[in-house]
Symmetry: C2
Subunit: 334 residues, 2 copies
């Protein structure tokens, strides 16, 4: 559990994209952010107040989140004075970088001295159970994709937000680094030991009110040779009542797998549903989220209509057109 509100550390980000973790937090949890802190040469900008560590603490900030990734995901020596100042001023530090805060002796020493926490969200903390497959109360919706990095997190965050705005009970269940930083908690599924993957997801999505929805962030793809095992553990651990399919029609091959074709939406529908029904025979596919960012509005609109006619379920681009239809479909599940 990461304490909020956050101070977003943008460091010396060379461009806006390098600060996409900060952007995600600012977009999805603006109410949990006090401001940004930027070093000399920073080219990223969140449209937030520029703060010092001291000022952020006065405004109530509890954790400084590393919202930037540099090449290699390392903790830059240029950042160290600010990270150390945050710890000595009473802030925890949280990071999704490949290199761990907890492996930096000076940070460990300062955290200990000032009674602060270093939270590496790529690291699995605590013990995990082996999945037992038992039926849990409450409802769960999971995003699955024809490929990795195709908009699953965005889609689930948007569905959660829409449910909240309609006054429905829901929780966003983060399964990856950025999602965990946004939500403040979750399971870094790709860092879990194989035997405990599904169990960690059962633990993340426990018994709940019968009208409560866990909106579970997807990971990987059942069709991606590198990460498919992670995805199937998520399908079986989350025991979904509803699946949302995610797809980018402009992608010509699987990310990181030259020569591999993406499956069709039809085929993803068939395979994902069959696998989900192993743990929940009532599971349904409630709609499709298209990432049409590389298409013109006209092409996107035509594609969505064509796909909806073909699959006979709601099809939208959550970023462009919202998720009203997906949430309508979700709430139709008895």
């Amino acid at each position: 559990m990461i304490r909020k509100p956050y101070l977003l550390f943008l460091g010396d980000a060379p461009d806006q994209l390098a600060a996409k973790v900060a952007q995600g937090i600012k977009d999805w949890r603006p109410e949990c952010v006090t401001g940004q802190i930027r070093l000399e040469g920073c080219q990223a900008e969140m449209g937030l107040q520029d703060l010092t560590v001291q000022k952020a603490v006065e405004m109530g900030a509890k954790t400084m989140v590393i919202g930037v990734a540099n090449r290699g995901g390392i903790i830059s020596p240029q950042w160290k004075p600010t990270l150390l100042a945050a710890l000595s001023s009473g802030l925890d530090l949280a990071s999704g970088l490949h290199n761990y805060l907890g492996d930096e002796p000076d940070l460990v020493q300062a955290a200990k001295e000032h009674g602060r926490q270093l939270i590496d969200v790529r690291k699995a903390y605590g013990t995990m159970p082996i999945a037992n497959g038992q039926k849990r109360t409450g409802k769960r919706c999971l995003a699955v994709g024809t490929d990795v990095s195709i908009g699953k997190m965005y889609t689930t965050l948007a569905i959660h937000r829409e449910l909240q705005s309609r006054g429905k009970k829901s929780t966003f269940r983060a399964t990856g680094q950025t999602g965990i930083l946004i939500e403040g908690q979750g399971v870094p599924l790709d860092a879990i030991v194989a035997d405990f993957m599904a169990g960690s997801i059962e633990q993340l999505t426990p018994d709940n009110d019968s009208d409560h929805w866990d909106i579970v962030e997807g990971q990987g793809s059942l069709f991606h040779a590198s990460y498919s095992g992670v995805t199937l553990a998520l399908v079986h651990g989350s025991q979904p009542d509803a699946l949302v399919l995610c797809h980018d029609p402009t992608r010509t091959e699987m990310r990181g797998l030259p020569g591999y074709q993406l499956p069709s939406l039809d085929y993803l529908h068939e395979i994902a549903l069959k696998l989900a029904q192993v743990v929940n025979p009532q599971c349904q596919v409630i709609g499709v989220a298209i990432n049409s960012s590389k298409m013109s509005t006209e092409d996107a609109t035509a594609y969505l209509q064509k796909t909806e006619d073909q699959l006979q379920i709601p099809v939208t681009d959550p970023y462009r057109f919202g998720v009203t239809a997906l949430v309508d479909s979700l709430l139709n599940i008895p």
Copy 2:
């Protein structure tokens, strides 16, 4: 890599079943075993020469393998004098227990002192790559089951042995603790961090001669809610040319999952093949291995015939009737 030959440590095994790891090694690699060593009260018996540590060393033994599991999988204090004697006499120690040899300070100290190795085959050693999905040379056969603990290791060991006896090129690729102790090397897949599961299997089954078969030990089941992710990583990492389906017709529910039905062989055939074809479109199901240990010979024979008529591929019980038909079918793959 565990050095052979082995001395099999049976400890104070309360019955034969408690020494099933030793039994597996003795059954499948008798040429790699110098003898057994038993403590006061041991009720297990491998039909091997009873040796002292000293005698085993004289006979050329390189590693003493813990071939027994007691309740809880712990390293018993009663075993310690013998384990320490093995180390001081020049033997390595290898274990598949849940508790690690490497967590016992007295063993660690003795191993260091005598320059010996402690090998915990449940532990992942070294760094693992992320799978790249690239097509590799040589051929691979993988066992997949309708459930866990259904005979996949036995089936693959039998296929490997039959290939060897026909003078064909093959390697048994172990993916679980007992398999690793039998073969002397392998990947403990359920102990690998999620992101690296498929990559560890690609590394285990590298490029090879075009007429060489890797016979890959299966793990878990695509239909088992606790372990399915491990299985799919294995399917995609091993890039199989051939699948063997494993099934026990007498099992009424999935192991450890009350209320869960096993899938039919037809359904496993369909789903496993579709998933395998993501990485190898030429993959085929070459036959079925039935565990008929709880059936009469008559019932078993009738069941095999009926299943063969239905699926139109070879169906056998490897233990009762051998794997000739499976290997014939395997070698038909161009």
